[in-house]
Symmetry: C2
């Protein structure tokens, strides 16, 4: 159904009618000029992320449902990175005429799944047209006890640097998706070339034969066998809320924390810069999944570069006092990858063969 | 300067280095994964708006500084419409390669001017590339005493409908800007046509004569004489914070309130719908500036339609109990335009000649 058939008011009603509120702190959700929230004796956290078509996502290989889920998880991840709990979210979307009501319904389905997963209330938004690509902005609010907040700036020399999960998988997932997209478009191009030839020469047999080719393209199946984990990490990232629970249960208090979005190197440099420290990490301690390593080999890419600079991992990178060393050993899925130093000692990675290389960030500058 | 020369981190530092915090409720501004806010015993308000190039704004006639100011005012306006005070703002911007560091500096200058005006702290943001147009999202937080909140839903039959300032001016400003844009492009087209002729016939005298024409185009001056107010209302709207101060000083407590963004008709219908009421407004009571009336005549447009459906006025539309009639008479610049009725009586405008017409909303559907 066309969006303008329905109209803005009816559309928003349709998308939001079954939304339930799960937080006592949400005093008013969607429907007025602003949402009303009260985190009473807790601190309120606020973060916002903008996602642009062609930059942060490509609708060739992510559908609207997964896209909404992913954007929500990325935004919530920022709240977890302060040791907070996400509680409310506001979603703005600017979309062109090619989008239908059904696309927005898919989008809201993914959004609601993400919200229900972390008990976050959808409390507002803005829907507008766009002349060009799809633009999505998500603003997430969270709550945290004042004494529990973990900043980027709290790391101290001798602190252990830890990271949850594994790194580089989302980046390799992206490489695979890009490759399959290229394969698909090559097939389409080849088909169009043959069709042109057959039509201009009025070659009926060839035209007949092309029907099967067209059918095959319509049912194009990208080759993801043995790479399911990588695709999942790229298309369906999870916000690291469980890691916080693990740390809290183990009575571990990070001195600094950030979520790995730009890549380990870039994000660790943020911690170092804001804490006025240096660092040493060990190449052989960086956690990497088997599928990531195998994909790097296939693509002839450097595994450590993928893990250091790939980004989109949404794992937690944090530091803990050296005294908590024994405790962290007991926590599953947390890896100690190095330690914090005095600032003057710089930021270095120590390779498998014992050489030191300066950590280089590659964030937004890559583009 | 190219943005990629500077890099994301240095860019954000450059844009935000002189930002001062004016609210005690801002515990942490820009620089970590999320901002930290605490409105202590007050309620927190949250609203977000997305502005897309070509839809909400046209860079042909608004510069980056005014654009930032306007977007900020529009977003803050939503907080005032709940009878709140805006306190924090987060700004996300997606921009293509054609933008330079200087454009962003202009943008931040406008943003800071808007923030200082209402003592709002800029506490975060997200900057990303865009393949296409410029996209801006602003999220504003505000604070309000619980008992002071004014919702859309509180209107009661016999309540007086009031509106601040005047209506339709921003819309007529837009018409003038669009017209001058057309005039400008006609001149450019004419120049290009002549240039092509002169070049192909190698007519040196004509080529020489065209230099003056080119100079004139370079110094094109749109004709805004006697329309300054309309242009100002379109390019430099103000959030209606002063109106709240007036109402509070006069000890007037609106029963419902909204800011006029989509147009009087559409926004009044929101109040009626959410309050379960109907309304009557009088055409001859709708406040209209002299310049608006004069521009309508020039453009051969219906004045009441411009005032009802033009939008972008950012005035406050609110209802008060009939008992406060005497008080509101004393408040400058507030106009009583009608009254609230039982729902079954519908939503009507009474024309100058005493006829009743059903109020029709034209919001987003217009496009």
């Amino acid at each position: 159904m066309e969006i303008k058939e329905l109209g803005e008011v009816a559309l928003i009603e349709r998308l939001t009618k079954d939304i339930k509120i799960s937080n006592l702190s949400t005093h008013l959700g969607i429907g007025d000029d602003a949402a009303i929230v009260n985190h009473s004796d807790k601190e309120t956290l606020l973060t916002s992320r903008l996602f642009m078509e062609g930059i942060q996502f490509d609708l060739t290989y992510i559908d609207m449902e997964h896209l909404a889920y992913k954007c929500a998880m990325i935004t919530m991840s920022n709240i977890f990175a302060m040791n907070g709990r996400p509680t409310q979210i506001i979603v703005s979307i600017g979309l062109g005429k090619r989008f239908k009501v059904e696309d927005l319904e898919d989008f809201y389905r993914g959004l609601k799944t993400a919200c229900y997963k972390w008990k976050v209330d959808l409390v507002g938004g803005d829907t507008t047209s766009s002349f060009t690509g799809l633009a999505i902005n998500m603003t997430c609010m969270g709550e945290v006890e004042k004494e529990s907040i973990v900043y980027r700036k709290g790391a101290k020399p001798t602190d252990i640097i830890c990271v949850s999960g594994d790194l580089g998988a989302a980046y390799m997932g992206l490489q695979i998706l890009e490759r399959e997209k290229t394969v698909y478009y090559q097939q389409v191009e080849e088909y169009n070339r043959k069709l042109k030839d057959a039509t201009s020469s009025n070659n009926k047999a060839m035209l007949e034969g092309l029907k099967a080719e067209r059918e095959a393209i319509n049912h194009f199946q990208p080759d993801f066998v043995g790479k399911e984990y990588l695709i999942d990490r790229q298309l369906k990232p999870e916000a690291p809320g469980d890691v916080l629970k693990q740390l809290s249960e183990a009575d571990i208090h990070p001195t600094s924390m950030i979520d790995v979005s730009d890549g380990l190197a870039s994000d660790l440099k943020h911690i170092c810069k804001q804490s006025g420290c240096g660092c040493r990490i060990y190449e052989n301690k960086i956690p990497i999944d088997y599928q990531t390593a195998s994909a790097c080999e296939e693509f002839n890419m450097n595994l450590t570069t993928a893990a250091l600079n790939g980004g989109e991992d949404y794992e937690l990178l944090f530091t803990i006092p050296i005294e908590e060393h024994a405790k962290i050993e007991q926590v599953e899925n947390i890896h100690q990858i190095g330690y914090i130093t005095e600032e003057k000692l710089g930021e270095y990675i120590i390779t498998r063969d014992g050489k030191e290389f300066e950590l280089m960030a590659q964030g937004w500058n890559k583009q």
